[in-house]
């Protein structure tokens, strides 16, 4: 099959979704120019009224999308950098996320928010390295976090079709990754996790760009230490495929969560709490979280590496839960 980069897969999803449905529009900063490429060609194909380059006014253009959705459009909102959601946080959390329930279900809000270059990308320091999905999960947004180009296209198509607000995490580390992507339009459904590698000793739950890293560690451990690691990718974090998750956990009884966001009240905590409550009797070892440390990203690359979750930590955690014996 044809290989595309994650970024190209996003671009194709945009083109196909906008081509298929006149009500889809996109709004954000510098998207005509298409600095990174994910919006390339959209302005030429769909014009000024469906491809809106905005002033630096995130709060307003986020609210704008809410109003456009209430009036019948399906907006895509691009955040140039993930931490810009904070400037628009009221319009996200107090307005868009709450609107449907507050309205008693009178209207749908089919809005897709794209968080470009989520996570760290080497020396971007404190304000440009966040991976802020736990905030959005806590607020009740549907959130998808694709780990490869195929899932990126399919989850983007589904996000745009979904009749609720959805946040699409476009991880900095994933954007250049290549993978097979069908040419036709297709959707990856929400709430369907994916066993990216089967295994029987330990379940590793890896999120987004950490999935390939986890696969590499699993491969190495299989070869070097004969340990069978299952790598489970939730794909959509909310809704979460609990059934798939618990199936894997019940099989292995040993769990490591590999997640590149701040630790406290992060997504790894949520997964740990769910598993701890619902699969307690299957657990043969404590659930280990391997996450980002609880600080803004320091600029220095060695400090950055020290703050980020690392393959070595994952390996250590796998070995620890694998050798853990109930006392």
């Amino acid at each position: 099959m044809r290989q595309l980069r994650f970024l190209q897969a996003m671009n194709e999803a945009y083109h196909q979704a906008m081509g298929a449905d006149e009500s889809v529009m996109i709004i954000g900063e510098d998207i005509r120019g298409g600095i990174r490429g994910e919006t390339k060609g959209l302005h030429g194909a769909f014009g000024d009224l469906r491809v809106l380059d905005t002033p630096i006014s995130e709060a307003a253009f986020t609210g704008f999308a809410t109003g456009a959705a209430l009036a019948g459009l399906r907006p895509i909102v691009q955040f140039q950098v993930p931490s810009l959601i904070y400037v628009a946080f009221d319009q996200l959390v107090n307005q868009a996320a709450k609107m449907r329930l507050m309205l008693g279900g009178q209207a749908n809000l089919p809005i897709t928010y794209t968080l470009m270059v989520s996570g760290s990308r080497g020396g971007n320091a404190g304000q440009h390295s966040d991976n802020p999905y736990p905030y959005l999960l806590h607020a009740g947004f549907k959130v998808v976090c694709p780990s490869n180009a195929y899932d990126a296209k399919g989850l983007m198509i589904q996000a745009i079709r979904e009749d609720d607000p959805v946040v699409f995490i476009a991880s900095a580390m994933s954007l250049p990754q290549k993978g097979p992507v069908p040419e036709e339009i297709y959707a990856v459904p929400f709430g369907c996790g994916d066993v990216k590698r089967e295994g029987s000793d330990v379940t590793v739950i890896a999120i987004g760009h950490l999935v390939p890293e986890a696969l590499a560690v699993a491969e190495r451990l299989a070869q070097e230490k004969n340990i069978s690691v299952e790598v489970w990718d939730p794909r959509s974090l909310l809704p979460l495929d609990r059934e798939g998750l618990l199936k894997s956990v019940k099989k292995t009884g040993r769990v490591v969560i590999y997640d590149d966001t701040n630790r406290t009240c992060g997504f790894a905590a949520e997964l740990s709490a769910i598993i701890g409550e619902l699969a307690f009797s299957s657990l043969k070892a404590p659930i280990k979280r391997v996450t980002r440390a609880d600080v803004p990203m320091p600029f220095n690359l060695a400090l950055e590496a020290a703050v980020l979750p690392k393959p070595q930590q994952l390996e250590d955690a796998i070995l620890a839960v694998r050798s853990y014996a109930h006392v």
């Binding site: 002033p55 704008f64 809410t66 109003g67 456009a68 507050m102 009178q106 979904e162 809704p239």
Partner: protein
Amino acid sequence: MSNIMPAPFARSLYYNMARIRQFENRVVTLVDDNEIAGVCHEYSGQEAVAVGICGALTTSDIVTSTHRGHGHTLAKGGDVGRMFAELLARTGGYNKGRGGSMHIADVGIGIFGANGIVGAGAPIACGAAHKFKAARENRVAVSFFGDGAINQGVLHEAMNLAAIWDLPVIFVCENNQYAISTPLKEVTILDPYVRAQSYGMPGVCVDGMDVEAVYHAALTATERARTGKGPTFIECQTYRYFGHYTGERHMKMNYRSQEELDRWKLRDPIKIWAARMMESGLCAQEDIEAIDAEVNIEIDRGVEFARSSPPPNPAEALDCMYAVPYPNTPAWGVEP
């Protein structure tokens, strides 16, 4: 000017103002009787603003409203019964009892919702306006907000979007002189409408106690909007008769004086309009009384409807969160 206004229309303005006034009076009673939970922000005194603006709108135009939203909703054509039902938190309420005073909406007739966050409705109106413009629909979006909202950043961002994209939006600033206890003159130097001008849109200031003046300003603005010329900002000088919200009557607040209140009440928008209609021969005292009586009945019936509407089922507390729910999503607070 009044002589160029058809009598039925003039009377409808009166009717709509009287409806708001009586609605609010009943709200106060229902709050005192513990039939309404939470807080309500009464609109009494400001009726000419909602009614004057909405007089220039059709059902297909939309409005975004504020925490003080009853007046806008009624003026836009909201149903008294469904509003009371919402305030009484019943299934027959506009929001099925999920929204309450601060979120009452009727999306079907273009009421995109009251909003508990000051200034937050402005960009929402812009987005709807963009849809109208893009689809070449002849519709207008109105954003109501208070004088306090003039210092929220998002309002400025929204005004700029509307201006640069020539959106069919009308920004209506209800300058009732205070944001809770804070006088406008302590927190702004120039008048609100001056700020709007700095975005390159017309900003005007009208007497918000004069429904006719408000209506004419709205008419100019809607014509501008409908002909693709872009947004307008209308500041309406007005006053609220009650406290900031229903709770204030039980508190000792002294941020404004009785004299000031009395002075504004001399220019009561409903009385002024009744007098002007009669002066101009648009109606007689009996007509006014007939309208008042009619409204009275409508209010009674509305409360009756609300009281007879069943409350929502607690098992459905998570309904309405998503159009497409999934297993365990949204999650209850305990594992089922």
